[in-house]
C-alpha cells in the first residue's frame, strides 16, 4: 500500500500511537476462557484480538494421518470476516494456510509428542480483530491454551514482531505501520531464551538492521513471556 505523502509514522521519536520505538503495545492475556475446550486463551496486543482453543489429545480422523508412537499437532488459524475493514471472505485462503503451518512449526519444538501415541492435539486460533501481528498473537494465545489444556511441554513459546518504518527499526508494528512500513519480521522464541522457532521476513534490511531487528523482537518476546506466565498463574492460583 502506498503511504499518503503527508503521513508521518514517527514524530519526534514517538510513533503515531505515542509509543517509543522499542515499546510493545498493551498486552492482555487470559487463560481458560472457553467452556468446552480443554484449554483456551484470549490474547490482546493493541487492537489485535485472538482466541485460541485446544481439543484433545483425541483420535485422529482421517486415520491415515495417525503417527505411530507419537501424537500430532494440527493447527487451524482463521480470521473472522468482521476482523478487518473490508469484510474477509470466510474460509481458508493461501495466507491462512501458510500461517497455520508456521504457527504449528513454532509450537512443535516444545511439545512432548511421545506422551500420546496415535492421538492428535487440535488447536484452533480465531482472529476476531486484526491490527497487525496476528500470527505472533496467535502463537502467544496458542501456547497458553496448550498449557491450560495440560499438554506436556518443555516451555512456553512467545512471539513478537519487529519491523522497519521510515528507516528505523521498531518493535511490534501496528496496523498503519504494517501497511506503510518497509519490513516486518515476526519471531517466536522458546522460554524467553534465544532459541528461535518462528522467523519470517517481508521487506528489505541490511546486515546491521537485521541483527538489530532480531534482537529487538527477541526482547519483545521476553516481555510477552512474563505476561504468559502471569496469566497461567492467575488461572491456577
Amino acid at each position: 500500500m502506498k503511504k499518503p505523502d503527508d503521513m508521518k509514522l514517527i514524530v519526534k521519536g514517538k510513533r503515531l500511537d505515542g509509543r517509543k520505538l522499542d515499546e510493545i503495545r498493551p498486552v492482555k492475556i487470559e487463560a481458560g476462557v472457553l467452556g468446552r475446550a480443554i484449554g483456551s486463551a484470549y490474547v490482546e496486543v493493541g487492537g489485535t484480538k485472538v482466541i485460541a482453543g485446544v481439543h484433545g489429545p483425541r483420535g485422529v480422523y482421517p486415520k491415515y494421518l495417525e503417527k505411530q508412537g507419537r501424537a500430532i499437532l494440527r493447527v487451524k488459524y482463521s480470521m473472522a470476516p468482521f476482523s478487518v475493514n473490508d469484510r474477509k471472505r470466510p474460509g481458508p485462503d493461501r495466507r491462512s494456510v501458510e500461517l497455520s503451518k508456521m504457527i504449528k512449526h513454532a509450537l512443535e519444538p516444545v511439545i512432548f509428542f511421545d506422551e500420546f501415541p496415535q492421538l492428535s492435539i487440535d488447536l484452533f486460533v480465531e482472529v476476531i480483530q486484526a491490527d497487525a501481528g496476528t500470527r505472533a498473537a496467535s502463537i502467544v494465545a496458542a501456547s497458553v491454551a496448550l498449557a491450560d489444556a495440560g499438554i506436556p511441554m518443555r516451555a512456553l513459546v512467545s512471539s513478537c514482531a519487529a519491523g522497519k518504518i521510515e528507516g528505523k527499526i521498531v518493535l511490534d508494528l501496528d496496523g498503519p505501520e504494517d501497511n506503510y512500513g518497509q519490513a516486518d519480521l515476526p519471531v517466536a522464541v522458546i522460554d524467553g531464551t534465544e532459541e528461535i522457532s518462528l522467523l519470517q521476513l517481508d521487506g528489505e534490511l541490511n546486515e546491521k538492521e537485521l541483527k538489530e531487528a532480531v534482537q529487538l523482537a527477541v526482547s519483545g518476546c521476553r516481555v510477552i513471556h512474563d505476561k504468559q506466565k502471569e496469566a497461567l498463574r492467575r488461572r491456577y492460583q
Binding site: 500500500m1 493461501r94 501458510e98 519444538p109 528461535i196 522467523l199 519470517q200 521476513l201 517481508d202 521487506g203
Partner: protein
C-alpha cells in the same frame, strides 16, 4: 524412508553427506530459458537432480483499489505427482502454498518488478504477471530451485503488444522486456544436530530438523526470510545462513542474464 533409516542417517549426516558434498556446498546449477514459446517468459532450473520449470504469462486486468497505478503479480506452485510419488493431485496444499508464498515474498519485497511501469490505464487496466511454478523432479530444496527459475523466467519475459483497442496481440513482435530491476535469490540451509547443510537434498530433508531460507539482493541486503519446519534456530545460525546466502546469491546471479 523407515524410522530406522532416518535414525541411522541422523547419526552421521552432519559429518558426512550422502553425496559427499561439503556442508556449505551447493549442487551444480543449470539454467535454461525461453524453452516454452507460448509463455511470455520461461525458465527451467536444474539444481542437482531437482528440476523446476517456471512459466510467466502476462494478461491485462484490473488493478487493486489500493494501488490503482500498479501492475499485479501472482505466484502459484503446482506439486504435480510426476515430480514425487508422495505428491498428490488436486488443489495446492500447504507445502505448495508455502513454496509459492516464499518465492512471491522474494519478488514482491525486493520490488524486483517495477509495478508502476505495468500500468496501462490508471485504475482501469494494468498488466498482471502470472508466475507458475511446475515441479518436474523433487530431489530436495524446491524453494531455491523455484526462486531461481522464477527470476530467470522474469528476466526472460517480454511484454506482448497491445493493439489499438487495448487487446493483447500475442502474434505481434513483443513490446520489449518486463521491467525487472532486482534479482532476489533464495538460499536455503537445513539444520541437523546443530550443523547447517546448504542446499539439502530430498533425503536430507526427511531427517533435518528445520530449514531456513534467506533471500538476498545484489546490494547484500536481505529482503525475505522463512524458517520452515519444526525445530529451532539460533541467532548465530541466522548469521551463518545470511552470510552463505550472500555468497551463494552472488554466484547464482552470475548465471542469470
Amino acid at each position: 524412508m523407515t524410522k530406522q533409516t532416518k535414525q541411522y542417517l541422523k547419526t552421521f549426516l552432519d559429518k558426512q553427506r550422502l553425496d559427499r558434498r561439503r556442508a556449505d556446498e551447493q549442487r551444480p546449477l543449470e539454467i535454461e530459458t525461453g524453452l516454452i514459446e507460448r509463455a511470455e517468459g520461461s525458465a527451467k532450473v536444474k539444481l542437482g537432480n531437482t528440476e523446476v520449470l517456471v512459466g510467466v504469462k502476462l494478461d491485462v486486468g484490473t488493478p487493486f483499489p489500493d494501488s490503482p497505478d500498479e501492475g499485479v503479480i501472482i505466484v502459484n506452485a503446482e506439486l504435480s505427482p510426476i515430480a514425487d510419488p508422495e505428491f498428490e493431485s488436486g488443489p495446492p496444499r500447504e507445502n505448495a502454498i508455502e513454496l509459492a508464498r516464499v518465492v512471491d515474498r522474494g519478488i514482491r519485497e525486493s520490488k524486483s518488478i517495477e509495478l508502476g511501469k505495468l500500468c496501462i490505464d490508471s485504475g482501469e487496466k494494468v498488466w498482471m504477471v502470472f508466475m507458475d511454478i511446475y515441479i518436474l523432479n523433487n530431489e530436495g530444496n524446491l524453494v531455491d530451485a523455484a526462486g531461481i527459475a522464477t527470476i530467470a523466467a522474469l528476466l526472460n519475459a517480454r511484454l506482448p503488444k497491445l493493439d489499438k483497442d487495448g487487446n493483447i496481440d500475442r502474434d505481434a513482435e513483443p513490446d520489449g522486456k518486463l521491467p525487472v530491476v532486482q534479482k532476489p535469490i533464495p538460499v536455503t540451509v537445513g539444520k541437523i544436530n546443530s550443523t547447517l547443510l546448504a542446499d539439502p537434498t530430498e533425503k536430507e530433508e526427511e531427517v533435518i530438523e528445520t530449514k531456513l531460507t534467506v533471500t538476498t539482493l545484489e546490494n547484500g541486503n536481505v529482503c525475505a526470510m522463512q524458517k520452515s519446519g519444526s525445530g529451532t534456530i539460533t541467532a548465530s545460525d541466522l548469521e551463518y545462513a545470511f552470510e552463505l546466502s550472500r555468497k551463494t546469491g552472488k554466484e547464482i546471479r552470475k548465471k542469470l542474464n
